[in-house]
Amino acid sequence: MSNGLLTTAVGSYPKPDYITRARGRFQRGQIGAEELTELEKQATAHWIDIQERLGMDVVVDGEMYRGDMVAYFAENMSGFTNSGLVRSYGNRYYRKPIATGPVGRDKEVTVDWWRYAQSLTDKPVKGMLTGPYTIVDWSFNEYYPTREAFLMDMARVVHEEAVDLVKAGARYIQIDEPALSVRPEEMEMAAKAFAIVTDGLDAFTITHICYGDFAAVFPHLANFPVDMLDMETTNSGYDFLDLIRGYPSFDKYVSMGVVDVHSHVVESLDKVKSGIRMGLEVLSPDKLFIDPDCGMKTRTEEECVAKLQVISDAVREVKQELGLGLG
């Protein structure tokens, strides 16, 4: 690793219009899977190229081939069917997975995509998985007698996929758990499941968590079976840093979100630099990564690139000011 303050991203990037259109045509049977995959590869290469040009240290494939982060895994694993349409908010609907049998994995889900993305760059590409707790919490359950039974089975399946990513060469494995922070009473169970996922993995492990009551679950997060916590930070006013400050034995790596992914407005260089400096007050540069708050698929490409650019510029300037080498 370099001198710290590595830049990265949480996962998704906006899909170009041609992907959105192609997905629609694929669903209506107007194009085949191969044609869709070619376009998804083209879009993946585009985002890898953007991240290289911005000088990002640890890159992601941008998830051009995924729809919903839970449905993608459910559709590629056994034991799930899709529900009818349920409402997410306003006039937005989606099909929610239903566990109707024991969950399992007949084939690798994400490994080919990881290999493809890694073949395009010398920068490390993160292996990206959705965590067992989030898959369970965001699915219906018609099979398992308890949430815990569903969760432990799910954890074993995600672990298998993580092992295959490491075998393929992934050095960073991110296992997203955005559902984690809303039910403090289930944190212990969630941590037990996560430990199954990361057990014996020869890789740097990351989990992304966002938009919840972090204070209520912080002691659990501080002891979570993972190397790095990737946190939505700027949207919640950097309160997460105060939690670290109040917990002297905290020793996790942190990836800190310094731009808001739900706002069209691109943050100023000064604002992002001051966010980074706040992070450096509680964490040493080698323990701190810098990224956006969350996945960026709801932004336009222009907004997304501008936000990544300001992160890149801010990190470079802060490193110069601190006399840290440019990795």
């Binding site: 529900s83 009818g84 349409l85 349920v86 409402r87 997410s88 908010y89 306003g90 006039n91 609907y93 239903i98 919490d137 965001w138 219906f140 359950n141 018609e142 559902a179 809303v182 039910r183 938009y211 919840g212 739900h262």
Partner: protein, 324 residues
């Protein structure tokens, strides 16, 4: 025993011949149909979901809250002083609502839900329950905005919603339900909560129901049971500890029993439902029970929601048959 719904019902149907609210909203947003056209579709879908409830055999129906984006903004948009901000997660569900913010001191702007209640009542063969998001929950799910503290926001909302309840009563509502899930997450606020509920129900002679969900009432159940309402609703699916609390329900109060899981597609059997009713009826006689799903059914696809109501009625019949 009364079979009923908590509140909302899925807005869209997989039936291609049914009026599609989803399409209508998209067309309205694109400027291709007028507001009147959209309202006509909302009316048709409301009629359809009332009929679903009547067909399932419910004794007491709601309008399905087809016109509500969510329980917060439906009321906030009708109260002067609120603006509506970005998306925020609704409790521990994977659904979202827009965050209301009081930008100035809130004031009543006349009836919010009264016209919708009148429409439902005129289009239902069964009595219609009016539902209001309670002042405590509405305040908790808003930002404080220009208010200095939670208390002043809660009490301003209580006054405004009292006017709403009175207007609903004047429009003929015989059952008025206040939804208050948030109190289960902030039990230290029981005093403020009691004050707010007393304010909202002042002058209301209709049957007053206080409905909680997403947890159990342990620690505050005696306070809830002592409030000047006729019925207290509890969620026995997400709050199984509620089974141990109902023995403390005073004899002049009815119990709302959320016993069918409104957040999971697995359909309970009629026998399972009957068994749960018998368990509750061992403590609170059946003639003091309202039985219903654990919360609104909008978390489910329409066919699953409909099946849940059918089973609920079957289970209630089974329990009553075995009791007589």
């Amino acid at each position: 025993m009364i079979t009923t719904m908590v509140g909302n019902y899925p807005k869209i149907s997989p039936d291609a011949k049914a009026p599609s609210l989803r399409t209508a909203i998209n067309r309205f947003d694109e400027g291709r149909i007028s507001l009147d056209d959209l309202k006509r579709v909302e009316d048709e879908v409301t009629q359809e979901v009332i009929q679903d409830q009547v067909d399932a055999g419910l004794d007491l129906v709601t309008d399905g809250q087809i016109r509500w984006d969510d329980g917060q903004t439906y009321f906030a948009r009708g109260i002067t002083g609120y603006t509506i901000n970005g998306l925020i997660r609704y409790f521990d569900t994977n659904t979202y609502y827009r965050h209301p913010i009081p930008e100035q001191k809130l004031q009543s702007n006349g009836g919010i839900s009264v016209k919708d209640f009148e429409f439902a009542a005129a289009n239902s063969q069964r009595p219609v329950k009016a539902v209001i998001t309670g002042p405590y929950t509405l305040a908790r799910l808003s930002q404080l905005g220009c208010y200095d503290d939670l208390r002043s926001l809660v009490m301003d909302l209580a006054g405004i919603l009292n006017r709403e309840a009175r207007a609903l009563q004047a429009a003929g509502a015989t059952v008025i339900q206040l939804d208050e899930p948030s109190i289960l997450k902030h039990k230290d606020d029981a005093d403020l909560f009691a004050e707010a509920i007393e304010c909202v129900v002042d002058g209301i002679t209709a049957t007053k129901a206080l409905c909680t969900y997403f947890g159990d009432a342990s620690g505050i159940h005696r306070r809830l049971f002592g409030l000047p309402v006729d019925l207290v609703g509890l969620d026995f699916v997400m709050g199984p500890a509620n089974f141990d609390l109902v023995a403390d329900l005073p004899e002049d109060k009815m119990l709302g029993c959320g016993i069918v899981d409104a957040r999971n597609t697995r359909a309970e059997t009629a026998e399972e439902i009957a068994e749960t009713i018998r368990r509750l009826a061992a403590t609170v006689p059946m003639d003091r029970l309202h039985v219903n799903p654990s919360c609104g059914l909008d978390f489910l696809p329409r066919p699953n929601a409909r099946a849940k109501l059918v089973r609920l009625v079957e289970g209630a019949k089974l329990a009553q048959g075995s009791a007589s």
